[in-house]
């Protein structure tokens, strides 16, 4: 508090002005009070003196009358009558006496007169023992008696005795005793013009009040106690004081032995009223002076302090940040100079603060950017973590959308992906429109948006997809592409979308809308970063799908391999079993005429065995155990041929509509397998259409496959021209579940025994072997369409016509026949010998080698089985070729997984033939081998 200038100035002022004024005022007041008190004391003294003087004058005047009488010559010697006359005249003259008495020197009454009472002449009193007589007699002085009071009226009186002497003798001649009526004293006090609070009374030496303006006070014998010499201000001794404290003035009247005190008592509060008033005046004056001083001081101090306060106020405003505040410059004095300096300082400070603020703002912006970056990175990290933790693309998309909305403060958004098959933008199958503002109803509510025929997308969300660039519209509804928004769509006030690209391929889209402020580059950057992660997720998902597909294919393949292995194993044995059946039945048929009774039986046996052989072949084909030689194949004639074949096998209720592009290029394929494809699909189509019939469309086109074509990107086809074989029917169609299983082995919808369930599996396998792709489109009641895509090879074409007829040609060469199955050895021996050959058979491969070693040139041809104990056919052939390199060897086997035809050829084996062997094929092979020699 004391640090403030105002306080210090005030204190200084108080010290310099207020205190002196107060001191002076107090001094004056004290002096005045003292003077007033002295005055009051003096006044009371004067009053007491004056009253005392009047009383004394009265009494002494009355006594003087008596003295005058006593001066009457020979008073004591006058006749009684004369004395009476003198006394009566005196009494009549001076009504101040009640009674006058002349006493002789012995105290005997000579005469007595009374103002009111009749004095009987016979009544003579004796005053010899009365003090009124004795005292003056002794002292020869006037005796004043005590003040007494009349019994009836209470009037005061005093007895005075004046002795007179005989001038001759000087002896006391007599004493005149007078009773003085002191009522006048009462009147004197009653008529005193006293001041307020003042009273005057007379007390005798005993303190008895003998006179007061209030007679009752006297008449009730009021006693006062005169204490020590008063200091003129003491407690009132008056029994009925007007106040507690009073100023006393005292005057003594000495009347002989009597002493009367004239007391003037002035109540302090009245006596000193002037002093008090003066003190009040002085106090007021002091206060006025103080007030004046304060009034002077306040503005003066204010003129000093106020500018400083304003300066302080300005400083506080500046402290709160308002640096533009300027201090008021009220004058050219030191304070004005200070204000100028302050303003300069604040201007400088403002400038510095502005610069600092700018820098801080920049740093703040940087920090915000960093924080945003951190937030984005955290979001990305979180998303990455989520991506690592979960492979659910929907969950990730949800998370991405949430982050996108959070980072762009958007109310709405979606995350979509491009379906690679259809090219549709698929949206809230993954995410949902946030909020409930979406009021799209009915068919307009779509979550999947297909591209146009030219691959572009419509509407606002299509802009980014088409351009593969971010699209920002802070007034989207004004954009031309906003046309076509379905009714009830959320009102778009701001719209931002970025395409999701992976390796430049459009895989998805992230879009946000309705942020409270305009979208900008920062938001685009944020979404692009999210889109990168999303692209990875989509790619991973795609890869996962492909992986799963591959795994599925692998499983399928493994399954097929297992089946193939099983089939292979069975096929070999089965082929071995079929070999004698086919061989002997064929042999028997060659030896029988058709009208033989057993011919038809044998024919049936042969046909059955032949179907069994085909079945084995299909199985082996499906299991890939039988490698077919793919050749460049012009498929148009094959297709026409196969259609003919189908036509002949299908009922007329099935209308076959071919549409074959003659310009379609050749493929790399196996004739048989190609036919199998067409035949299987055609047969299935027939089964689907049933008895009601329908239309079977078979078309062939050449289509170009681009690098982005899904057939290329997803199904492994090579970019370039591809033959598209379409086989569609108007059958009953299939549901999705059925469609998903049609290529599974043994899956059939036919009744048990009506189908093996291997047809489409085989077709699928064949096409895969051809490095092609098959797709199926089917819906219940809508028919089924198979599309087979086969890569087209170069322009060289080879027309290959399958030849299936011809007679068997024989020979005479010597053939070494090795097979561990005796039945087969016997059947082949019979077959070969039928053909005229010389056949040496052996069931032991090692024995066969010994035989050959003994006479390697003996034989013209070796026909051996492959899987044999001791030495396999291949080992045997190798050993024989080592002995005789030019020996023609034909490997005849039912199944050999490891020993392929190519391997056999590489070893020098001239021919490779699969069991069951048919005669024609065998003879042709033998001739072909022997001819090359």
């Amino acid at each position: 508090m004391f640090g403030k200038i105002r306080t210090r100035l005030t204190i200084a002022f108080i010290g310099l002005a207020v205190l002196p004024i107060l001191f002076l005022g107090s001094f004056i007041a004290a002096k005045t009070f003292t003077a007033a008190k002295q005055l009051a004391i003096s006044v009371t003294h004067d009053t007491a003196l004056r009253v005392g003087g009047d009383v004394e004058d009265f009494i002494r005047g009355m006594v003087d009358h008596i003295e005058v009488v006593t001066k009457t010559p020979g008073l004591h010697n006058l006749s009684r009558q004369k004395q009476l006359e003198i006394m009566r005249e005196l009494l009549a003259f001076q009504s101040g006496y009640d009674q006058m008495t002349i006493l002789d020197p012995l105290g005997q009454e000579l005469v007595r007169v009374n103002r009111l009472q009749m004095v009987n002449g016979g009544e003579i009193g004796n005053w010899a023992d009365q003090r009124e007589f004795l005292a003056p007699l002794q002292t020869r002085e006037i005796y004043y008696g005590p003040v007494l009071f009349r019994e009836n009226t209470g009037e005061p009186y005093m007895t005075c005795s004046v002795p007179f002497t005989d001038p001759q003798t000087g002896m006391i001649a007599g004493i005149v005793v007078g009773e003085l009526r002191l009522k006048k004293i009462w009147h004197l006090l009653a008529t005193l013009d006293l001041r307020p609070g003042e009273q005057v009374y007379i007390v005798n030496h005993e303190g008895l009040v003998i006179a007061h303006k209030n007679p009752s006070i006297v008449l009730r014998g009021t006693q006062t106690h005169l204490g020590a010499e008063p200091d003129n201000l003491q407690r009132s001794h008056h029994p009925d004081p007007l106040g507690d404290q009073a100023i006393l003035g005292d005057h003594h009247i000495f009347l002989g032995d009597q002493r009367l005190h004239i007391i003037c008592e002035w109540e302090k509060r009245h006596a000193l009223s002037l002093a008090y008033r003066l003190m009040v005046v002085i106090g007021l004056g002091t206060l006025i002076a103080l007030a004046a001083a304060v009034l002077v001081m306040v503005p003066v101090v204010g003129n000093i302090v106020r500018p400083l306060q304003r300066l302080a106020t300005t400083a506080r405003k500046i402290e709160k940040g308002n640096l533009t505040e300027q201090a008021e410059v009220a004058g050219d004095d030191e304070i004005g100079e200070l204000a100028h300096a302050f303003n300069r300082m604040t201007a400088q400070l403002h400038s510095s603060m502005t610069d600092l603020q700018t820098e801080v703002m920049e740093r703040t912006d940087i920090q915000k950017a960093l924080q945003r970056e951190l937030l984005i990175n955290k979001s990305l990290a979180s998303l990455s973590k989520a991506m690592l933790a979960s492979e659910d693309i929907k969950e990730l998309a949800d998370e991405i959308l949430k982050r996108a909305q959070q980072l762009t403060a958007s109310e709405h958004g979606y995350v979509g992906y491009i379906d690679q098959k259809s090219g549709n933008l698929v949206c809230p199958t993954i995410t949902a429109m946030q909020g409930k503002q979406c009021q799209i109803e009915g068919d307009d509510f779509k979550m999947e948006f297909p591209p146009n025929a030219d691959g572009t997308y419509d509407h606002l969300w299509g802009v980014a997809l088409n351009s593969r660039q971010p699209f920002l519209a802070n007034n989207p509804m004004a954009h031309p592409s906003s046309q076509g928004c379905p009714t009830g769509h959320v009102s778009l006030e701001r719209f931002l979308t970025v395409p999701v690209l992976f390796n430049d391929q459009l895989v998805g889209q992230i879009a946000v809308a309705n942020s409270p402020s305009d979208y900008g580059e920062r938001d685009i950057d944020t979404l692009e970063r999210l889109s990168d992660l999303y692209a990875l997720a989509l790619n991973r998902d795609q890869g996962q799908q492909e992986k799963e597909k591959l795994l599925s294919d692998l499983r399928q393949s493994q399954k097929m391999e297992a089946i193939g292995t099983l089939a292979g194993g069975i096929a070999h044995d089965f082929n071995n079993m079929l070999t004698p059946i086919l061989g002997y039945s064929e042999l028997a048929l060659t030896r029988l005429t058709p009208d033989h009774e057993l011919f038809s039986h044998l024919q049936t046996i042969h046909q059955a065995a032949d179907r069994a052989k085909e079945l084995i072949k299909q199985i082996l084909t499906f299991s890939r155990q039988r490698e077919h030689e793919l050749t460049t194949l012009k498929i148009q004639p094959i297709l026409r041929e196969t259609i003919k074949l189908l036509r002949s096998s299908l009922p007329t209720t099935i209308y076959i509509r071919p549409n074959i592009d003659p310009h379609c290029g050749a493929i790399l394929s196996d004739l048989t397998q190609f036919q199998q494809i067409v035949m299987n699909l055609g047969t299935n189509a027939y089964h689907a259409m049933g008895d009601s019939g329908g239309t079977l469309e078979i078309s062939l086109q050449e289509i170009p496959l681009s690098d982005q074509d899904p057939l290329v990107t997803s199904h492994g086809l090579h970019p370039g021209p591809a033959a598209c074989l379409t086989i569609s029917d108007t059958g009953c169609g299939m549901d999705k579940t059925t469609v998903s299983k049609i290529f599974d082995p043994y899956f059939t919808t036919k009744e048990q025994g009506k189908g093996t369930g291997m047809g489409l599996a085989m077709v699928h396998g064949i096409i895969r072997n051809h490095h092609g792709h098959i797709s199926v489109y089917s819906e219940p009641g809508q028919g089924t369409t198979f599309k087979i895509y086969l890569p087209i090879v170069s322009e060289e074409r080879a027309l290959t016509e399958s030849a299936t007829t011809g007679t068997a040609a024989g020979g005479t060469e010597r053939i070494l026949l090795v097979d561990d199955e005796e039945v087969i050895i016997l059947m082949l021996r019979d077959m070969l010998e039928y053909l005229g050959y010389q056949v040496v058979t052996i069931t032991s491969s090692s024995e066969a080698l010994k035989m050959f070693e003994e006479r390697p040139d003996y034989y013209d041809l070796v026909i051996t089985d492959q899987p044999m104990p001791e030495l396999t056919g291949g080992e045997l052939a190798k050993a024989m070729l080592a002995i005789r390199p030019d020996i023609p060897i034909i490997l005849c086997t039912g199944f050999s997984e490891s020993f392929t035809e190519e391997l056999a050829r590489d070893m020098g084996i001239r021919a490779y033939i699969m069991k069951p062997v048919i005669l024609q094929e065998l003879t042709e092979k033998i001739r072909a081998v022997l001819s090359h020699e």
């Binding site: 009504s95 303006k213 005046v281 007021l284």
Partner: protein, 327 residues
């Protein structure tokens, strides 16, 4: 600075007014105007009213400035006196001055509840009249001036003037306490002085008229007591006394002035002046209960003219003892 000047001026202005106010407060309030109601039974007491007014004037109560009087004149009927007394009370008088004993008795009665102070005068015997309980301590709201002590001296003085007086006519209203008391007090004095006091009860003016018309002889003097009725007929008695060449001794000086020979008593006028002093003390704050009843000053008064008419020679000594009235 302007503000400073203005503030200073305002301050000075206020302070001056404060000072003036302070001093003004100190100033005594304007003088109170006292209202005094006057009731009187006897026309003879009228001089007391004059003396009262003069006395008040001398004491500083200027009529019209400090005091006003409500007086309708003497009322010889006591009931009407009571009505007048109540009327005065209704006027909220500050004090009632009652002249004569009947009027004072009425004043006491009407002020019994109001406690309006009453100063009476002259009243011969306030205690016996019941006006006060004690001359020294009146005790109530009445005080005043009495004169009840002068009869012996007056008789003595009469005898001193005419030592040959033997038989004195004493007319008095026997229904009035005052003369009755006078008579009782005088009887032993008369015996001491060797004179015969012959009381003549007269109760109304008709009886007085009849008595005066047939004044009996054989009286050496007529001694009028302090009797309002007789006092109202002093001049008639003076005339009769003169006619019979006998001295008349009225109780008050006015009676001597009216033709009586000698009086040793009071002046009704002076009684009024003395009563004024009591009124002044009451106005100064002393309660009537504390103001002793005062005895009026007695003075001998001799009408020298009457003396000559009735052929009485009065000694120089006696003349020097009295106030001598000469026409």
């Amino acid at each position: 600075m302007k503000i400073l000047h203005r503030n200073s001026f305002i301050l000075i202005f206020i302070c001056l007014h404060l000072l003036l106010f302070a001093f003004a407060c100190d100033k005594q309030e304007g003088p109170k105007i006292y209202t005094i109601g006057v009731i009187n039974f006897s026309p003879a007491a009228e001089p007391a009213y004059e003396g009262f007014r003069q006395g008040m004037e001398e004491l500083g109560y200027g009529e019209g400035k400090h005091i006003r009087y409500l007086y309708r004149g003497h009322i010889a009927d006591k009931q009407e006196l009571a009505v007048e007394g109540k009327r005065l009370l209704a006027q909220k008088v500050d004090l009632i001055f009652s002249m004569s004993t009947p009027a004072s008795v009425v004043a006491k009665e009407v002020t019994a509840d109001a406690k309006t102070p009453v100063v009476f005068g002259p009243v011969s015997n306030p205690v016996a009249s019941g006006l006060v309980t004690n001359l020294k301590h009146p005790g109530g709201n009445l005080t005043g001036v009495t004169f009840s002590m002068q009869e012996p001296k007056r008789l003595e003085f009469l005898q001193a003037i005419m030592p040959s007086i033997q038989r004195i006519c004493f007319p008095y209203n026997s229904k009035d306490k005052s003369p009755t008391l006078n008579l009782e007090r005088l009887r032993p004095i008369a015996r001491k002085l060797g004179v015969e006091l012959v009381p003549i009860p007269l109760h109304n003016h008709q009886e007085i008229d009849t008595f005066l018309a047939h004044f009996p002889g054989g009286f050496d003097a007529i001694y009028l007591p302090t009797d309002s009725l007789m006092a109202s007929r002093t001049s008639d008695f003076a005339h009769i006394a003169l006619a019979h060449k006998i001295p008349l001794s009225p109780p008050q000086r006015e009676g001597v002035e009216a033709g009586g020979l000698v009086s040793y008593g009071f002046s009704i006028f002076e009684v009024g002046r003395q009563a004024a002093r009591l009124a002044d003390q009451i106005f100064r704050g002393i309660s009537p209960a504390d103001l002793p009843v005062e005895v009026t000053e007695f003075k001998a008064t001799i009408n020298q003219t009457t003396a000559k008419k009735i052929n009485i020679t009065i000694s120089d000594s006696i003349l020097r003892q009295a106030v001598v009235i000469r026409d």
